[in-house]
Amino acid sequence: MTTYRKPVSNTWWLERKQYFFFVIRELTSIFVAGYCLFLLFIISEIGDGQEKYTLLILSLKSPISLVLHFISLPFILYHTITWFNLTPKIMKLQIGEEIISEKLIIGLVYISWGILSLMIFWLILGV
């Protein structure tokens, strides 16, 4: 009996909206790696003394730095939001017979993020 197999093309991810956004989500990892390299650059300049630091601040104001930041931020935020929203799937917490609601877990994750972000702002920019 000859069966028919519909061929799957390499552009399968363009055929459905859900698949497209999945691939976008996966590609956010490129921006993550990019920012890691950038962080290394920043740390390196800060560690090298006042002069290098001043140059660093200047380069942060450059158009190319601003453009790259503005492009990266939405992608990184997309990573953050999709990551947090999937957290309850990784860990199903159960107390007695009750399974803890997914929305509660997501809420707690976002709150932790808020607190952590504030701590970072405080630590680096100081109050």
Binding site: N10, W13, V23, E26, L27, S29, I30, V32, A33, Y35, C36, L37, F38, L39, L40, I42, I43, S44, I46, G47, D48, G49, Q50, Y53, I57, L60, K61, S65, L66, H69, F70, S72, L73, I76, L77, H79, T80, W83, F84, I90, S112, W113, L116, S117, I120, F121, L123, I124, L125, G126
Partner: protein, 116 residues
């Protein structure tokens, strides 16, 4: 990839993903908006504070994890994406390049942190 290594790679991916999800947005806002547009207010001693922080060994240890683990997050995610987009025939090469890249990134991190 050998079946015995997938768990640890996934773990590195997961922790790196959580770290980058939590910490990178505020950092990007700082380096991309607040500092370039001078919104940080009174910063007479900003350099001194940051300089002191990055030279502190304990801070360096934290920074290592904050940077190296997201490299592994990228490696794992990018590897699977490339394989799914049609590069399955060279999946071993892809894995080598991706995880190798993460190792290089981690070594670069160690070098940078030790150098300053």
């Amino acid at each position: 990839m050998a079946k015995s290594t997938e768990p640890i790679l996934w773990l590195l991916f997961s922790v790196g993903g959580m770290i980058s999800a939590m910490l990178f947005p505020p950092l990007i806002i700082i380096t991309g908006i607040i500092v370039p547009f001078g919104l940080e207010g009174e910063t007479t001693y900003l350099f001194e504070k940051l300089h002191f922080l990055v030279k502190n060994p304990f801070v360096k240890l934290i920074l290592f994890f904050v940077i190296a683990l997201p490299f592994f997050h990228w490696a794992h995610r990018f590897r699977f994406t490339l394989v799914d987009i049609g590069l399955k025939p060279i999946s071993f090469l892809i894995s080598t390049l991706c995880y190798g890249g993460a190792v290089v990134g981690s070594l670069l991190t160690i070098y940078t942190l030790l150098r300053i």
